[in-house]
Amino acid sequence: MKITYTDVLVIGGGLAGLRTAVGVRERGLDCIVLTLVPPKRSHSAAAQGGMQASLANAIMGEGDNEDIHFEDTIKGSDWGADQEVVRLFVHTAPKAIRELAAWGVPWSRVKAGAHQAIINAQKVTLTERAEAHGLITARDFGGTKKWRTCFTSDGTGHSMLYAMDNKAHERGIEIRERREAMALIHENGRCYGAVSRNLMSGELTAYIAKATCIATGGYGRLWSVTTNATICQGIGHALALETGVAELGNMEAVQFHPTAIVPVGILTTEGCRGDGGVLRDVDGYRFMPDYEPEKKELASRDVVSRRMTEHIRKGKGVKSRYGDHLWLDITLLGRAHIEKNLREVKEICESFLGIDPAKEWIPVRPTQHYSMGGIKTDYRGESPTLRGLFSCGEAACWDMHGFNRLGGNSVAETVVSGMLVAEYIADFCQTPQSHIDISTATIERFINAEQAKLEALIHGGSGEDSFVLREAMEQIMMDKVGIFRNAKELQEAVEQLQELLRRSRNITVYRSKSLAANPALVNAYRTQKMIKVALTVAYGALLRTESRGAHAREDYPERNDHDWLVRTLSSWSDPEQSLPDVRYEPLDVMRMELPPGWRGYGKDLTIHHPDTPTRAAEVEAIKAAHSDRFARQKALSAALEKLPKKYQGRNERLSERFES
């Protein structure tokens, strides 16, 4: 039996996991990162478009600040987000981007003087301020009042991830590649680490730690077509779920990105539309202004995806052998712009479609993209039900995005949550509660259980083929748990997934019998886990009889704050059960800085919460009493006091200069 002890075990080597590791290391703790792939290959690298932070350097970002970023994010979430968490986030995002600038990210910069831009399909001239020259610039993204999305030409996520991994190298952080966490080790409501499998040799090792942090990204691969990388399979969520103790939050909250290419589902960045690209239908007609006259193509992602689907249902899609699609037209941006700021898009179009996007339109349709749901944590990133288990980034639901995430807020969240959760983990590790008091006998039991499961898969009789079950699951999610949802289809999805779950308990790995590197074995045990996670999504969606953000119920089109201003919490207390346990946690209107209102899209169908008028009146009174925005914010919410001290300082801007 092999046991390795450390202070902090991080599962996942993307931006969130690496930033957590760097943070706890700086606090003097030992840390091991387990990762399926070399960290620089993580899905964080795929974030082409940018990172939101209210620097207010670019002329179209002038006047931006944390408060505006806060409002955009809450509205974007359809009031499903935790407002305290969002407040911590918007305050820390400028610090995160400035730290990354110091660590080597070559952020695109403001160039003083006039330049051309495309806004609402019109050429306009913008004049950047001389005083902003050389500071980090920003582009437009959907659902934001200001141009706030900072970027590195066409490779934001890539350059962020490389800078972060290099920083981890500098700090000597132990990164163990091609290691998969198989199960969390826990006892009496306390998490002590994980059993890990070496994907090359097959060896099982127990990593025992004071704190364990899951940063494994989203669960997009539950769907057959997704923009997500092949490793975004929700395995971190399954690990938490299989403890029977930890809970998952809002798993039904799933975002579909408007512009993935057809058929393979590779993303073309929101930067295409942010920079002035438009959507067209089978007739070449620009249809979005008809649906959303104000924000048009730059409405929130969930809104654009629904409008596109509606338009296709009206028969305005372009027929293809892979189903109907629409067109993304970026030809009006010009070749020079495309080859510099959207080069990744150009490469994707050339390699996967054989087209030149400077001359031809790109076939796109809404495709699964982001998991707002995740491992339920408090604002410190810790599971309220399983002590010592932390989570951050897309894997977590702390809950920053509610029912819809804004473009540019995900890479921002990875780094910010890593910064903050690292501090809270380090604080936890200084308390007596963090001591490791688990016996080696218990650890051995966990390792043996995993070994037994693997051997049963390899040596079992004539059971089910995991590839068949996986494909069936992906298809159910695709057909019945998509952009528009209804009770009938969701009920069918839940029943069919339950049947798949039963069958998955009897999987056999045929032909390929190695316990070392063995893709068939990996597929087998991950499929067992993924079906459970899929059930939390489908069942949560069935139970939530309202429409909120990306969760759009055709049979319940109104957002119902009266009954559903709550967070769905799923757990799996008995391994033999075929449905998750579900309970709900209310969001407290009386503590909101921004009481529930209308997002400004389509018709306002909201059924309001009884507390909303009361809180709205309170907030108005507080606002009227304070002209200074900092004093006003403090009077509205004490959230910022929860920040680690080192991050409590104000953020300097051109319009809010510090005394030198």
Binding site: R41, A102, P106, G134, K167, E170, F352, A516
Partner: protein, 241 residues
Amino acid sequence: MSEGRTLHVHILRFDPHLKDDKPRIETFELREAPGMTLYIALNDIRKYLDNSLKFDFVCRAGICGSCAMLINGRPGLACRTLTSKLDAHISLAPLPVFELIGDLSVHTGNWMRGMSERLETWIHTQKAPDIDRMEERMEPELAEAIYELDRCIECGCCIAGCGTIQMRESFVGAVGLNKIARYRLDPRDERSDAQLYQLIGDEDGVFGCMSLLGCADVCPKELPLQSQIAYLRRKMVQIGK
């Protein structure tokens, strides 16, 4: 049209973890589909023909660099290789130089990490940033120039295509030299040319390159490796004088 062809995929297979396994070529036949890439073809083979076939894909969009392999003898990214651009007979082999995990899967990660630690591919500075304050300014053109070199995805194609490394295993390769060029250009990194000389001023570094430039031919990101290596060599010669 290539639609509907039968593809014959010849794969060099070997599993070092299996006792008695021997390297061999195995051929898989499958029906070509429209828009098929090697990512789709290999997954079809694994799903329908041989579930033990080992290969690596992560982003499957040409961004992450996981899936480099020898495609008809030439290093390239499998995910963005359309089968329609290849002959019906396709030969696939793992990248040379890197440790073999099995079949087409190689351990580029530990090689790249070793290179990174050796060349210290991070910003070296004495300054601790005050992240509450406005960031340091940088000329927009300089930021773009740094990003041009920062675009490397560490796929390993340049290493697989390198003549020097066949004879000198400790050579840092184009990937390593490009990193040094990138940090040399970056004013945030305070290392002097004399310090960089300590890292690459020998035969394992910039003076080992025989200028065969296989690296530049096969780089899927079309990085300016030729000009960067030549420029770096001139700068290092000045230090070595």
